[in-house]
Symmetry: C2
Subunit: 293 residues, 2 copies
């Protein structure tokens, strides 16, 4: 059931993105192709899954969630394009395919990332009779806070400055709460806004999402040393090679596995207080640490 | 009177930007410093001037215009940071000071640009009792349309792909309408939204802004060949060196001057139909082609 839901939402958000990108005129064909390459490279679509699954659970219509799901994926896609640049992580491969600056060139990759960020905010604002201006504005605010200096961008800056440095567990946790956690929490937030969730529901889902976000990163660090390059779609051991602090480095492999399990248990405990059928998102939480890629 | 107004609005928007940047926490000090360097590098603040002067003329309170003025300058500043990168225009000097990737490093410059774009959208959404959610949402939409694929980013992509190519006047005009015109028109649009302007006022101001936007670029091209490096704050003749199509190249220097004058005359003619005192923005229009930097 989880696998089907993942596929269903994946196809749904891919359609929204594909249609939106197809709507762009052809005045800058290279840029359009680079944006599409970056946004439609495949991937698990973890963030759209969370927007859709949490939103639907709370009673929001899927059509109401489409632009939010596509917007958060645009932000994620732009961040990957820029992170892969030579001046940043210098990765040539992403999901088994050439990264945007390899398939195109660096200038086009920078612009494609920039334009995908803008597109995210444009998507959130698309006219929709079933969502209020207040809700849309709250979504723009949530997305901006999660992506900017206080969230993802700040996290990436801290990550860059921490390379070759010894940082402790608290610093590593703070780094990842910003770098990946903020956007994963934002996916939940967008669903809460679309569903007009109550204070209590907000509190529960925020706790759930915060734990999932960190568990996701711990598992990513584990996979970087336990998976093959083929499974990962990018070079295995690249964190180690880049001399980055990771959870397995600080906690050992077993310690990192235990940490991820504890985070997922905390996420599941939070759900116990919810009066909705949370089976799907609970299965998703377990999948976060069971996945091999 | 124009000089005083320019200085007043310049200081006003600089204060808004300085305060907003000072509010950011110190978790990523390099990134924060790079964002500040890029956003507070000085400059004419043409776009904030237009937000303030047009908004105030139409009866909007200046305090209502602060976040819009700061937001559009954040977009402009981010675009300069990314345009200056080695993979793009590769400029080491901007307004007589080192560009962000020179003062910091490339990775930090990419992130500073990214985070300044995000900050623009966050600024527009700041809670404000005197502006409706509909108005703020309309501002986000206007800013996104002007900055993304259909506007500034698309224009920069076309510009990059036109280097070393012969393009005609129509193509050059379209390029600049996107690359610089869209954001200048957006400045006027933000003022129209804040002031709840009538249809007729919108039409007039849009025509005014479109002409100003193109004249601004024509004058920039003229200054690139007639000003000294010291006046420009960047290397003189850099367009020519980069083998870029410019208005003086296509029209000759005299032809480019006549074109800029015609555009300003058209901008001033549009204002004749306005029932407000448009002296200040008319003076500003004349200044666009009289300026030496």
């Amino acid at each position: 059931m989880l696998a089907q839901a993942i596929e269903k939402y994946q196809q749904r958000v891919d359609n929204v993105l594909r249609n939106k990108l197809a709507e762009l005129d052809d005045s800058a064909p290279e840029l359009k192709a680079a944006m599409s390459h970056g946004a439609l490279l495949g991937g698990k679509r973890i963030r759209p899954f969370m927007v859709y699954s949490i939103g639907e659970m709370l009673g929001a219509d899927l059509a109401l969630l489409d632009n939010a799901a596509a917007a958060i994926e645009c932000i994620h896609a732009y961040s990957l394009i820029h992170d892969d640049l030579p001046a940043m992580d210098d990765d040539a491969l992403r999901r088994g395919k050439p990264t945007v600056h390899i398939a195109f060139d660096e200038a086009t990759a920078i612009l494609a990332g920039d334009a995908l960020q803008t597109l995210a905010f444009e998507l959130i604002c698309q006219p929709n009779d079933n969502i209020s201006a207040q809700q849309q504005l709250a979504m723009v605010t949530a997305l901006a806070k999660a992506s900017g200096y206080s969230g993802m961008c700040g996290g990436q800056a801290i990550d860059l400055s921490s390379t070759d440095q010894r940082i402790n567990l608290e610093q590593l946790t703070q780094l990842h709460n910003k770098k990946t956690g903020a956007l994963i929490s934002c996916a939940a937030e967008l669903a809460l806004i679309a569903a007009n969730a109550s204070q209590k529901e907000q509190q529960i889902i925020r706790e759930f999402a915060a734990n999932i976000g960190l568990a996701f990163q711990v598992q990513d660090d584990i996979l970087d040393i336990t998976s093959s390059t083929e499974e990962l779609g990018k070079p295995q051991g690249s964190d180690e090679e880049a001399n980055k602090s990771t959870f397995p480095r600080l906690l050992g492999l077993q310690g990192a596995n235990e940490c991820a399990e504890q985070l997922i248990n905390d996420a599941l405990s939070a759900l116990a207080n919810l009066t909705y059928n949370s089976q799907l998102i609970a299965d998703f939480a377990r999948y976060i640490i069971a996945r091999r890629l």
